[in-house]
């Protein structure tokens, strides 16, 4: 009796496995035949990396400035040359009078004006003191701040060079070092962000939509009236999107390393494992949404509003969480992307190991188990 039961169980397992793989194959065919969606899913990370990397950058490069040089001596000439030579500034206009400054700003071409008063070199030599005035367009305060900092730095450099022989007896020298990202590159910040965004879109939204589509089309009705276990149906639907996400993770990492020159300082294996963990969290969220949504539009709406926006706003990728009011800081804790963002930044940029991100990993694992349990519990074995 016992061996017979054993073979029966074996047959049952074999049948379940065949059902499962047949379903995954069918799902892959759906994706493969819908070329447009496939193109968007695979192209999206590439486009986002390129947009964030090259177009939407908050680094300041080649800002146009105007110079009003009332002194026209050797010292001012070399200072202006120095400003022009830095990659932050392009001297766009040489102004001749004070009045022209505002006109130049109003034209909107320049972001910063540098005023060098008359007898600049004389003052510097004889009084040991000369002043420079920086006028910035502060309609964008961040840019204005950055530009004046850069300009000050260039001017200080210049000053150091001409005074290095005669150091003042007492002076405090502040030296700043930017760790992990010495060039203050924006890419270090958004690569983890784009990863979180893309994985959420591909996994959560697409999984939710594809399951709800079966409900809308009525095919779920047949699937329910079949020997296949309902839970297997949803899991089989998630598998192809897991594969797609793996491709996306690879393309994002390749692009960041080779196109944006963002290094992977930590363990690649750890980074990939953590990304796959986040993929699973997103997939289980998609399953959860699909159990609540009755139509594809609703599924899309929930995915976008309840997931995508918090991911962009509250994960720390666009706006620093530390600066947020307390309630928002609390809400950010339930956004999975926040933890993923911390992990990726730590592993990829800082190069730390699992020991440093075990807490975040644990939180994501907990979220995964929670979402998955609720999603499978909520999955209806009947139509109502």
């Amino acid at each position: 009796m016992k061996p017979q039961q054993h073979t029966q169980a074996k047959q049952k397992n074999g049948a379940a496995r065949r059902q499962f793989f047949s379903f995954v194959k069918k799902e892959l065919l759906h994706i493969w035949r819908d070329k447009r969606t496939l193109f968007i899913l695979l192209g999206m990370p590439v486009v986002q990396i390129i947009i964030f990397g090259f177009a939407l950058t908050n680094e300041v490069k080649n800002s146009k400035i105007a110079v009003l040089d009332q002194s026209k001596d050797a010292a001012t000439a070399s200072l202006i040359a120095e400003l022009n030579a830095s990659r932050y500034f392009d001297v766009e206009a040489n102004l001749t009078s004070y009045k022209e400054i505002e006109a130049a700003f109003k034209k909107g071409k320049i972001k910063l004006a540098v005023l060098l008063p008359s007898q600049f070199a004389e003052d510097l030599k004889h009084v040991n003191k000369a002043s420079v005035q920086l006028i910035a367009d502060a309609s964008d305060p961040n840019v204005a701040n950055t530009l004046t900092n850069y300009a000050t730095a260039v001017i200080m450099d210049y000053q150091d060079r001409i005074t290095n022989k005669q150091r003042l007896p007492y002076s405090i020298n502040v030296e700043t070092r930017m760790l992990y990202n010495p060039q203050l590159k924006g890419a270090y910040n958004f690569v983890p962000g784009v990863m979180a965004m893309v994985l959420l879109l591909v996994c959560t939204m697409m999984t939710a939509i594809t399951i709800v589509r079966e409900k809308e089309m009525g095919t779920m009705e047949i699937m329910l009236v079949s020997p296949m276990r309902p839970q297997m149906v949803v899991i089989a639907k998630a598998v192809p999107y897991f594969l797609l996400s793996s491709i996306n993770i690879a393309s994002i990492l390749l692009l960041s390393v080779f196109a944006l020159e963002v290094p992977i300082n930590g363990s690649l294996l750890l980074l990939v494992t953590e990304s796959l963990l986040f993929t699973l969290v997103s997939l289980s969220l998609g399953l959860l949404i699909s159990s609540a949504a009755a139509s594809q539009q609703v599924a899309m709406f929930i995915s976008l509003v309840a997931l995508f926006l918090p991911t962009v706003m509250l994960s720390g990728f666009m706006f620093p969480i530390e600066n947020m009011p307390f309630p928002l800081r609390m809400i950010s804790n339930i956004v999975p992307a926040k933890w993923f963002y911390i992990i990726v930044r730590s592993v990829m940029i800082k190069g730390v190991g699992l020991a440093a991100v075990w807490k975040e990993t644990l939180i994501l694992t907990g979220m995964l188990l929670f979402f998955l349990t609720v999603a499978i519990k909520r999955f209806k074995i009947r139509l109502q």
């Binding site: 049948a15 065949r18 059902q19 047949s22 379903f23 069918k26 065919l29 759906h30 035949r33 819908d34 089309m217 009525g218 095919t219 009705e221 047949i222 699937m223 329910l224 009236v225 079949s226 020997p227 296949m228 074995i381 009947r382 139509l383 109502q384």
Partner: protein, 305 residues
Amino acid sequence: MYSVEVQHISKSYTVKKQTTPALKDISFSVKKGELFGIIGPDGAGKTSLFRILTTLLLADEGTATVEGMNVVNEYKAIRKQVGYMPGRFSLYQDLTVKENLDFFATIFNTTVDENYDLIKDIYVQIEPFADRKAGKLSGGMKQKLALSCALIHRPTVLFLDEPTTGVDAVSRKEFWEMLKRLKEQGITILVSTPYMDEAEMCDRVALIQNGSILSIDTPQQIVASFAETMLAVRSTNMLQLLNKVRESSFVENAYPSGIYHHVILKQHATAEQLEQELQAATFAGLEIKKGQPTIEDCFMQLMRI
């Protein structure tokens, strides 16, 4: 021995705190190997009934069994054994005919080869289009494919929810021929349809309206039990004739049916009385004859009770 037994099933839907009954105290039984029709207009409750029997919905009250298994407790066993074809076309439109069939065969733990003899009659008609996407098939072809998919695991009971809706007349006829052949294989078939003329293809039919069964019997018995006198009248001016007939004090009900108007007389009225009245009104080309009641006439009459 019964394949399907339904006892006192009731079901209502609540939308925005408003409760609409879909099925009211329905009871009937279907014998093994019977071709049983559930006939009624849209919104009569046919789909709800099918969904309860295929374990997709829970009834509010009453019990039902399929092949002796309870639809609530033993839903898993029922799902392995029945074939179900939902009302709208529910196959994968972007998969080809063959891919759909193979997929459903695997899902039902079988292969196309294993049960090919059962679907052969039907499948040979769509086999020339095996590599065509299911979404690109004509309505009749789609139904044949859906039926093949529903049959692929050799079910003992087949539930077909409005399989002929939206299908042309020739395909409809073919479809019913296929069902008859399947019946010969011993498969119990429950089929719902809004078309009254399809009733005569069934062994027995249940006429259903507003969630209640009006009558259950063989189509012949239902027609035979038509007690009233029915006349068929026509003239060159059908609209005026209908109005005139409806005004008549001898007439209980009158409605257009094909090229005639069917006229049901009141209990004590006679055909002669109406004939005299119509002759007096001088209708051109007036023709009055005894009408042969159909299922539709029975349905119309049953609805009035």
